[in-house]
């Protein structure tokens, strides 16, 4: 089945926004999508990969390394001329073994010639792209730890008997899960940059609209893709120019203060909240083509950046989103 076009996804604006932010600035550190089944979580994540600007990589590099990668990791990266290739999108299955994720002995070479070589795993495949895990809350703990660790350091270090490999693995981790099936440990949740909650649309019109689009795609994926291509193209351009603009955008003092105040007001623990909030605000400003980062950008991303970092208040069972919106109202009116 062809990928569903990103622009044809109805509603789910917060999720789409978060994914685009991660596309513009991978350093925000991953997106966690919580929501019921059948809300288009996987569809959106998979659609995103289809619309990102291609990357330039050495043709023969098994890691899809850039020029910089080849300089930093001369022993594993490089080879061949620089060529454009699509942004990798790796769909990590729940049952993946550690070997398959981090890489292992190259069986073919070991068997054929008795040589030991490293066969890159899924982490290598995801370098400079996206690693998507559906139902991440069901993934085995040791794998989640490993993934978050690599995602944070941007490097996969394999030290096993005979094999000693260090290769770049910078990717955006996208997790999705249904909170009713098991929670993610707070420590892990905190390591995700953005967290969004998706709900299934309940009004009949939206649901009918979605039915129509899916049916159209089902009937004739090619012409459906063609029809939406201009819209997707527009988003692609937006992301590409956002990426370029990002470096030039430096939030000024006022916005930094706003961010600090907001984090204090909602009781977001740790510095990570503020950092992510700033980065995400900058990314959305870049995406919109704004000249500078403004308070409105901050407000737009605050729920995604902070909702999973709020201290649990024993007496206040109000939802995190409500608490953030309330704080925004109180602070900025």
């Amino acid at each position: 089945m062809a990928r569903f076009p990103f622009s044809a996804i109805v509603g789910q604006d917060e999720m789409k926004q978060a994914l685009l932010i991660a596309a513009v600035d991978p350093s925000v550190g991953g997106v966690m999508v919580f929501g019921d089944r059948g809300t288009g979580k996987s569809t959106a994540a998979r659609a995103l990969a289809g619309l990102l600007p291609p990357i330039t990589a050495h043709q023969d590099c098994p890691y899809g390394g850039s020029k910089e990668d080849a300089e930093r990791y001369p022993e594993v990266c490089g080879g061949g001329p620089l060529r454009k290739r699509a942004v990798p999108f790796v769909d990590l299955p729940l049952g993946a073994t550690e070997d398959r994720v981090i890489g292992s002995l190259d069986l073919e070479r070991a068997l054929r010639s008795g040589e030991k070589g490293f066969e890159p795993g899924l982490l290598a495949k995801a370098h400079r792209g996206f690693l998507y895990i559906d139902e991440i809350n069901l993934l085995e703990d040791h794998l989640v730890d490993l993934l978050l660790d690599v995602a944070a350091s941007g490097e996969n270090v394999v030290e096993r008997e005979g094999l000693s490999v260090r290769h770049p693995a910078r990717f955006v981790l996208i997790g999705s899960g249904n909170p009713e099936e098991g929670e993610l440990r707070p420590q892990l949740l905190d390591r995700f940059g953005l967290s969004v909650e998706v709900r299934t649309p309940t009004d009949i019109e939206t649901r009918v609209e979605i039915m129509k689009l899916v049916a159209a795609n089902e009937r004739d994926p090619e012409s459906f893709a063609k029809k939406w291509a201009p819209e997707d193209e527009k988003i692609l351009k937006q992301v590409a120019s956002g990426k370029k603009r990002l470096a030039k955008l430096e939030p000024d003092e006022d916005v930094l203060m706003d961010a600090a105040h907001l984090c204090m007001a909602v009781g977001a623990d740790g510095l990570r909240g503020e950092l992510t909030l700033m980065r995400a605000a900058r990314a959305i400003a870049a995406l919109e083509g704004a000249r500078k980062v403004k308070r409105e950008h901050l407000i737009a991303v605050a729920p995604s950046a902070l909702r999973h970092r709020l201290r649990r208040d024993v007496l206040d069972e109000t939802g995190s989103t409500v608490r953030i919106m309330r704080a925004i109202d109180e602070l900025f009116g």
Partner: protein, 555 residues
């Protein structure tokens, strides 16, 4: 269901006919209940569609393909094998014993269904309501049929359809959407499947436009099995059974001519779907539709190195009770042999060279035992008669615990204290004695009682048990968390304690034992995110059956 009800097989056959026409659109079918009817249906599916059977113990290599280690070693060069998923591409995978699918396999299969490469036919042999195939997989499949009760035997023929029906009109789509909403089907996937089912159903009947009968069939086949609530103002089921939905072939034009208004259409669809909601689902829903936190009947799953269902192997040292997984260890060591021989300078006849890194240990998953904690209000306001009833219920539960291996604990609160009368136990004698000694009278320190019960729940949780809480009270707190009198503070403290219980995710049930139930009981249950039962005049038997229904213990 009375004898006039259509046999479930007829429904399933209709679903299968739709399914084989466009297997990848519908994702697949779940066929529950082993019966001759199901076997016949699966056989028929096998002739209509290329089918492969998936053994439950399949490993990644077999499923996804890759290098066949055994063959490679024998041949001295890499031998590639095709995985089952690739072999089944374009057809269907039949998965027997689907209720025992593990997460790893579920993830793989869900991906394959999403990619549209294979369709699945899950054979679900689960018996209890809650043991079925993983929801993350079944949600992706359009048709769910329960054939356990089918008494029909004989060959099944699945014939195809010619032609294709036009896309659904807007009002047809919205009729389906309204129906889904009425049945509490929130996910979008069933809705999308229903739309397609209606279209294919029309094609099957030789229509080029989707008619009312097609929408009805779609609601019945796709939407009804996923219902989480009863449609409002559900018509009495008997009436429904009098007039079974018309067979799909009888789609004559007269039906289309008197076009129903959208409202009528929606109503009819809801009715059609309601008629085929299985009876036990109705019962389940009326008994309590609080959100289920995982499987309620059994305890939570946890990983273990010692016992339980095998989960596969992990690298590790066999110590601390962990057992060596011999085959996996050998499998890990084999590819290295050529490398190691060369490095060690060993000759060809040397035994297999093992290193510490090759060792794999077995892991198992066991289901934690359940502890039912009773928090009993023994205050003066919960009159003495009530207390006797509560005592009786605990005793009955305990007798049942012998069968289900679950434990029972008892916390009583009265006057200025809450005390643990009975730590988690399966001992009938100890429990009887503790209960008999429980006196009544005094104030109602509800917050204190809840906190004590909560502490116990947490303690059991950390001991690997899955706690569930049954609070028997009238909800009228008059002593606060510190045992000081004052209704207002007492109520606030009780609410806070209840919310704390909700946050730790303990399954809770409030049994209102006041003579005239007021608003306090429901409010308490809501704060705990638990279920509520008012028992104005309960005897122990009634209480017991209510509790076991709501915690879904097998009776």
């Amino acid at each position: 269901m009375s004898d006039s009800a259509p046999d479930p097989l007829d429904q399933a056959v209709l679903a299968a006919r739709l399914f084989v026409i466009s297997p990848h659109t519908f994702g697949g079918m779940v066929l529950r209940g082993a019966s001759p009817a199901r076997d016949a249906l699966v056989t028929a599916l096998g002739t209509a569609l290329p089918c492969r059977r998936l053994p439950g113990h399949v490993d990644d290599e077999r499923l996804l393909g890759g290098i066949d280690i055994a063959a490679s070693l024998a041949a001295g060069k890499p031998v590639e094998t095709r995985g089952l998923l690739a072999e089944a591409a374009g057809g269907a995978l039949v998965v027997p014993m689907a209720e025992r699918l593990d997460e790893a396999l579920t993830g793989r299969l869900a991906q394959a269904v999403d990619a549209g490469t294979v369709a699945l036919v899950l054979l679900d042999d689960g018996i209890e309501v809650e043991d079925g195939p993983p929801a993350s997989l079944t949600e992706r499949l359009a048709f769910h049929c329960d054939l356990a009760a089918s008494r029909e035997v004989g060959p099944v023929v699945l014939d195809g359809a010619a032609g294709e029906a036009a896309p659904l009109k807007e009002d047809a789509m919205s009729a389906l959407a309204v129906t889904a909403a009425a049945l509490g089907v929130h996910s979008l996937r069933p809705l999308i499947h229903a739309g397609e089912a209606a279209r294919v159903h029309a094609a099957l009947a030789g229509r080029d436009e989707v008619a009312k009968a097609d929408l009805e069939a779609a609601s019945r086949l796709v939407l009804a099995p996923g219902a989480t609530q009863l449609p409002p103002q559900e018509p009495p089921p008997d009436e429904e059974e009098e007039q079974p939905p018309p067979p799909p072939e009888s789609g004559d034009k007269s039906e289309d001519s008197d076009t129903p208004t959208p409202e009528q259409l929606e109503e009819m669809l809801v009715e059609a779907a309601a008629a085929s909601i299985p009876r036990d689902l109705l019962e389940q829903l009326t008994k309590g539709n609080a959100p289920r936190r995982g499987a309620a009947g059994t305890g939570q799953k946890r990983k273990s190195g010692l016992r339980g269902k095998p989960l596969g192997a992990r690298p590790g040292m066999p110590r601390g009770g962990a057992r060596l997984a011999m085959i996996d260890t050998l499998r890990a060591a084999v590819p290295w042999q050529a490398v190691r021989r060369r490095e060690a300078g060993a000759d060809k006849d040397a035994p297999i060279l093992m290193r510490k890194d090759d060792l794999r240990i077995r892991r198992f998953e066991e289901k934690a035992a359940r502890v039912t904690i009773f928090a009993v209000d023994a205050s003066g306001s919960a009159a003495a008669a009530r207390l006797a009833e509560a005592k009786g219920a605990v005793e009955l539960m305990l007798a049942q615990a012998y069968v289900t291996r679950s434990e029972v604990a008892l916390v009583a609160f009265r006057g200025e204290t809450a005390e643990l009368l009975l730590p988690p136990t399966r001992s009938l004698t100890r429990a009887r004695r503790a209960l008999a000694e429980l006196p009544g009278g005094g104030g109602t320190p509800l917050a204190m009682g809840l906190n004590a019960a909560h502490d116990l729940a947490r303690a059991s949780g950390s001991r690997g048990r899955t706690p569930s809480l049954v609070v028997l009270t009238d909800g009228r707190a008059n002593l606060d968390a510190n045992g000081q009198p004052g209704r207002k503070q007492a109520a606030e403290d009780a609410e806070a304690a209840a919310k704390a219980i909700a946050r730790s995710g303990v399954d809770a049930l409030v049994v209102d034992i006041s003579a005239r139930p007021g608003h306090e009981g429901p409010a308490l249950a809501a704060a705990m995110q638990g279920r509520y039962l008012a028992l104005p005049r309960a005897d122990a038997k009634a209480l017991h059956s209510a509790i076991s229904a709501s915690t879904r213990e097998p009776a």
